[in-house]
């Protein structure tokens, strides 16, 4: 068979990356190939993930909080961080979620809004993967509308007392510390809550049909008493947790491309080998049209992600730009996964291939960290100046 281009080789977009970015990408790919891929189908099937072990492996190369500076963090660019997310999610969205929540939500919140003492006591251990963090904003009754959160923080002498519940919290059942967002008399504030604090319970959410290789939980806060220094001094108002989400969404914009790339590579390989009517499925024009359309979307998504990360690196990234990226790349990745499933026919639903797993994962990715509907309305507001959701 003649030479074929890898789907992401179509535009030669590799040339847009620096040597350093490629070197980091290659290490991320290697670690995903060696530490995740051989086991992922099994983890997904059993609904489990050795998150603590993986965190240590990831921490050893400096992958956790890699885009942050100081406190044992690598200080890499937003592009390098994005490429890493893409490689991890090419293995599985659940593993990328572990890293996003640790680095871009929990560590970022502490790094950006924490006191010097909070930073130096938590960040180095989190960067090494010895301590796991999670991020509690979403509640059972408040998802897209976090401003209506029911979790309350009240002062009692010098102490803080937190009461409420957080839902769909990645890493919660295994975490050492949670960044909990609660409403106080002063507005929304962030608190560092060790999971072993009396009154805190983290229950695992089971029976998920998506992100099965990721640990998800509910955090119940029953009059949890915290010392005065548990509050993040720099965070006041909802824009603080939302800035963390903007940070994490950038990883999703790239991550979704990883899932899509893995599906497309699988589908191309399959189509070239699988024969029907005496020739490879890839020889049929209908298949080629599917592959071409998917590759076009994948490469467009890559350029979009790269543009957004370069903007982040120069400090010109605005939240609605990230909404464009998340809306487009996750939507297209899901469409690619579904189309790839059709190319594999019945084999497409088999756990022997990664496609159905990616498709199921992407259903979560479409919704978490800002649903596609909310991102659409963010863009609507940016274009018209009129908010459609408040």
């Amino acid at each position: 068979m003649a030479d074929r281009l890898a789907p992401l080789g179509l535009l030669g977009a590799d040339a847009l990356l620096s040597d350093e970015e490629r070197a980091i990408r290659d290490v991320a790919r290697r670690i995903a190939d060696e530490k995740v891929r051989p086991h992922i189908a099994d983890w997904f099937e059993r609904g489990t993930c050795p998150a603590r072990e993986l965190a240590k492996d990831f921490g050893a190369v400096g992958l956790l909080g890699m885009h942050l500076t100081g406190y044992g963090c690598a200080g890499a660019s937003a592009v390098a961080y994005g490429l890493t997310c893409m490689e991890l999610e090419a293995a599985d969205s659940g593993v990328r979620s572990l890293v996003s929540v640790q680095g871009a939500l929990a560590m970022y919140a502490i790094w950006r809004y924490g006191s010097e003492e909070q930073k130096s006591s938590w960040l180095p251990g989190m960067a090494r993967g010895e301590l796991i963090g999670c991020f509690g904003l979403t509640e059972p009754d408040h998802g897209s509308d976090p401003a209506s959160m029911a979790t309350r923080a009240r002062r009692d002498g010098e102490d803080w007392v937190l009461h409420g519940a957080k839902m769909w919290i990645t890493n919660a059942p295994i975490a050492d510390v949670s960044v909990i967002w609660a409403r106080s008399d002063a507005g929304v504030q962030g608190f560092l809550v060790p999971l072993d604090t009396p009154g805190v319970t983290a229950n695992e959410i089971t029976r998920k049909l998506s992100l099965r290789a990721s640990v998800t939980g509910e955090i119940v806060l029953d009059d949890v008493r915290l010392p005065a220094d548990a509050v993040l001094p720099g965070a006041r108002g909802l824009k603080a947790p939302l800035s963390c989400l903007t940070e994490a969404r950038l990883g999703i914009v790239w991550g979704a491309l990883g899932s899509a790339r893995d599906c497309l590579e699988t589908a191309v390989d399959y189509a070239c080998e699988r024969e029907q009517f005496g020739r490879p499925v890839a020889a049929f024009q209908l298949t080629q049209a599917k592959l071409a359309d998917m590759a076009v979307e994948l490469n467009k998504g890559f350029l979009l992600a790269l543009h957004l990360s370069r903007a982040a690196d120069t400090g010109t990234l605005r939240p609605e730009m990230v909404s464009v990226g998340k809306l487009n790349n996750v939507r297209e990745a899901l469409a690619i996964a579904r189309t790839c499933r059709t190319i594999l026919g019945a084999n497409g639903i088999s756990g022997e291939y990664p496609i159905m797993r990616h498709a199921m994962n992407l259903e979560s990715v479409l919704t978490y960290e800002g649903t596609s509907e909310i991102h659409t309305l963010v863009l609507g507001q940016a274009l018209t100046g009129i908010s459609a959701f408040t």
């Binding site: 070197a23 290697r30 670690i31 050893a60 190369v61 400096g62 992958l63 690598a74």
Partner: protein, 259 residues
């Protein structure tokens, strides 16, 4: 403790490799280039020894200009600095000439131990450590699956087909390693970013006091006269059991030297 690790850039052994039609040397332009796999194990061992005993790890590479890619990758595993010997006259050098150049470069460096892979995946000669040891007048203990250093004494478990041999020498010494010795670490992101700031010293032949007429293809002690692509795989041998299948099977296995 000062350790020098010999690192070679080779064509990726996972791909189809070819020789050039004009001078019958390895076609490096057609190949994806990477660090010789076993060298990663030598670097890992050097880093471990330096971490345990204190010290410094220097990489030494002889190769064309683009071998800097491999040097940067190797540096991102953790070594402190590198020396790159590069000269157009070196193209096509045989193992003996290579050992002359590397020995001259090692003569310019301070070291207690030289580590290298047991072989390169392109040449596969396995003789370079011995050649270097001969030129430098030091001991060579090769094919290690374990290295321990106590004071000036270097003890090595040499892997053999039957088991292993324990060899000991007084340093300075040259040790070559197999992949059984360790699990190389991943380059860390921090070190990847730091690698471009690490010093890489360049030597040309003149800097080493080696003359161009001692090296290169024209002065090589061995020469490729002709080469042909590997023949396509033959169909397998089918033995039908008509009472003597077992004997025929053994005969076949013996003829192929499997037993």
């Amino acid at each position: 403790m000062k350790i020098v690790v010999l690192v070679k850039q080779v064509p990726d052994s996972g791909e189809e490799r070819t020789l050039r039609a004009d001078d019958k040397t390895v076609d490096r332009d057609a190949a994806t280039k990477r660090m010789n796999e076993l060298d990663e194990h030598a670097i890992e061992e050097a880093l471990k020894l330096a971490e345990a005993n204190g010290g410094e790890v220097t990489l030494l590479t002889m190769g064309p200009g683009d071998a800097t890619d491999t040097i940067r990758k190797a540096l991102s595993m953790g070594p402190d600095k590198a020396v790159h010997v590069s000269d157009d006259a070196l193209h096509g050098s045989c193992a003996i000439a290579t050992s002359k150049v590397l020995a001259a470069a090692l003569g310019k460096l301070e070291w207690d131990l030289v580590l290298c892979g047991a072989e390169s995946t392109d040449g596969g000669v396995q003789a370079l450590p011995h050649m270097l040891a001969e030129r430098l007048g030091v001991g060579a203990v090769t094919g290690a699956r374990k290295v321990t250093v106590e004071g000036a004494t270097v003890t090595v478990e040499r892997q053999t087909d039957e088991g292993y041999e324990v060899l000991q020498t007084e340093g300075p010494a040259i040790v070559s390693v197999w992949d059984t010795i360790n699990e190389p670490r991943y380059p860390s992101f921090k070190l990847i970013m730091a690698a471009k700031k690490k010093p890489v010293e360049s030597f040309a032949l003149a800097d080493l006091g080696v003359s161009a007429d001692e090296v290169g293809l024209a002065n090589a002690t061995s020469q490729v006269l002709e080469f042909a692509p590997k023949p396509p795989r033959q169909a397998g041998v089918k033995i039908t059991d008509e009472g003597e299948g077992g004997a025929k099977l053994v005969e076949y296995l013996a003829s192929e030297k499997f037993v």
